[in-house]
Symmetry: C2
Subunit: 343 residues, 2 copies
């Protein structure tokens, strides 16, 4: 069905079905000039927003509406996770070219609503408009957290151990496979694609970490390990050493790198879109945090380096050689990488 | 200068200068995964978002960066005004094609920051990305208001008098002049263009109205008088009569309509982008509200109709003839009008 058959307001009615899953603080959702809701008492507000642009972040032919909607929300939830917050209300602005049919748009919202419901997040409104060529999705998420339980980028301290909550480089490998239309040719091929399409926001994990003693700084890995660690270092005025051997690389990524002759360490360093959390913990609390974490969550956390007083980011190999790491990830205007822009 | 010379993070640094004008409730602005701020105690949260798409809402060659930025924020502030709220924090996502230079982008932010500062609104962050062809701007605004001082669309009551806070149809006339590249050819030509480029959000007026006894329903006129009144009627389950003679039409619009042989009443009815407030007041309070309003604000409010129990929207002429009004304004997917899509 084409959008012109039901119009903008008909579309909004369809999309808003089942969008509110938690009603207790909602006064007015879709259907007025603004959404109206109560703040969470004793908590401060977190706000994040991310825009996904066709032919920059995705190729329409290479993704389903569902995956696209899921990811548009997931990348925002991941930002709230990196602050240690609870995600509360989401809003979506979408610009739809004529060539896109209603079913694709409905699937986008299905993907968003499924993920939103899983994390008890309301989809409270947004904006719908047309577009000449590219499909554009902008999602905003409002979260909340007690003021003294928030994780910032700028709190890393010298001697902190650096951890991630998941494997790195998988999403980039998945993107490579999708972009080049490569079908299953080794074990783990489909898992890597799923890592790229359906990144899991570490919301519960972020919340947990924000409450642990000694957890100092956090960020989610959206641009790449080296880029995002650089954000922590710059904001904290610190340096870091990453131990090449300890970067968490999955067997799937190893298989992939063997198949296509990539260096797994470099791949993981500049991966991007993994949406694992990267965080630092004081050395005297690190062991306890790891133990507590692994009691609650099914997957481990990975220690991969240490915060230093230098201004450098260094990669240390097991033979003792040290390499300077240049932050290499995603910059929309300096693009040398070929990653999402080709997907 | 081109964006690739400074990169995404260089751009963000430039754009964020002077973006925070009210610091008392801000814990963290630009530079982390999410902005962090305190809610206003005793108030609930309002949230609105609007996306402006090149070649749908504007033509880059026909606008300045400043005007574009100003309007991107103004349309959102207008939504907060229509709820009777205070605008607090704004966020901007922008997708920038290669062909756009830094100066244009900086001017967009100048326009936003100037308007934001005027209304004590912080520009707290957002997202920057690239785009293949079209420039896309998505602004979100968080406002607040006491829960019992909010204006909704769905509260119009039978017998309510209908008012607007400003002239109608001017923005559409301005758009026509800009689109067709018509230079000053009658008195008021430039005023009409300014109405289109720099709509003034009625924030103080909305706040005032929300506190007045008898003001029932409100909306801002973004799609057009007939379309936006229809939203009030549909949400309230009511009808309305509009008195053709009382629709506020400026001398500038009369001059314009004479020059280009348009019917001023029809032009004002389906105008759109006026961003005046449209509101209803119980008949026994109408006179007092008008008097109070005009004591405080330099411009009058205009009474133009009455809410009825029917399901119809009717236009009543001075000779007593009655015409059915069909909501005719902006629908992004049913477009018959040529308005912003051609600007």
């Amino acid at each position: 069905m084409e959008l012109k058959e039901i119009g903008e307001f008909g579309l909004i009615k369809r999309l808003s079905r089942g969008a509110v899953v938690r009603k207790e603080n909602i006064i007015r959702s879709i259907g007025d000039d603004a959404a109206v809701f109560r703040a969470y008492p004793e908590e401060v507000i977190l706000f994040t927003t991310d825009m996904l642009v066709e032919r920059i972040h995705f190729l329409k032919k290479a993704t389903s509406g569902y995956n696209l909607g899921y990811k548009s929300l997931a990348v925002n939830l991941s930002d709230i996770a990196a602050m240690g917050g609870n995600a509360r209300e989401a809003f979506c602005s979408i610009a739809i070219p004529k060539a896109v049919d209603i079913e694709f748009v409905e699937n986008i919202y299905e993907g968003m609503k499924t993920l939103a419901a899983e994390f008890n997040v309301n989809l409270l409104g947004g904006d719908t408009t047309s577009s000449k060529i590219d499909l554009i999705i902008n999602v905003s998420v409002i979260g909340s957290a007690p003021e003294n339980e928030i994780l910032y980028r700028n709190r890393a301290q010298c001697g902190d151990k650096i951890f991630t909550t998941g494997f790195l480089g998988e999403s980039r490998a998945g993107c490579f496979l999708i972009t080049n239309d490569i079908q299953a040719c080794f074990k783990g091929c489909e898992t890597l694609k799923a890592s790229h399409f359906l990144p899991r926001p570490y919301l519960k994990e972020g919340k947990f970490l924000a409450r642990q003693k000694g957890v100092h700084a956090a960020i989610d890995i959206s641009d790449g390990l080296s880029s995002d660690l650089e954000h922590i270092l710059e904001e904290s005025g610190k340096g870091a050493q990453i131990f090449a051997d300890t970067i968490p690389i999955s067997q799937d990524l190893k298989n992939f790198c063997r198949q296509f002759s990539f260096d797994p360490v470099q791949f993981a360093l500049s991966g991007g879109e993994d949406y694992a959390l990267l965080f630092t913990v004081s050395s005297d609390n690190a062991e306890k945090v790891k133990k507590n974490y692994e009691k609650i969550f099914p997957r481990p956390i990975y220690e991969l380096g240490v915060i230093t007083e230098t201004n450098n980011m260094e990669l240390v190999f097991s033979d003792g050689t040290v390499q300077q790491i240049l932050p290499k990830g995603w910059d929309h205007f300096l693009t040398v990488e070929t990653r999402a822009s080709d997907l």
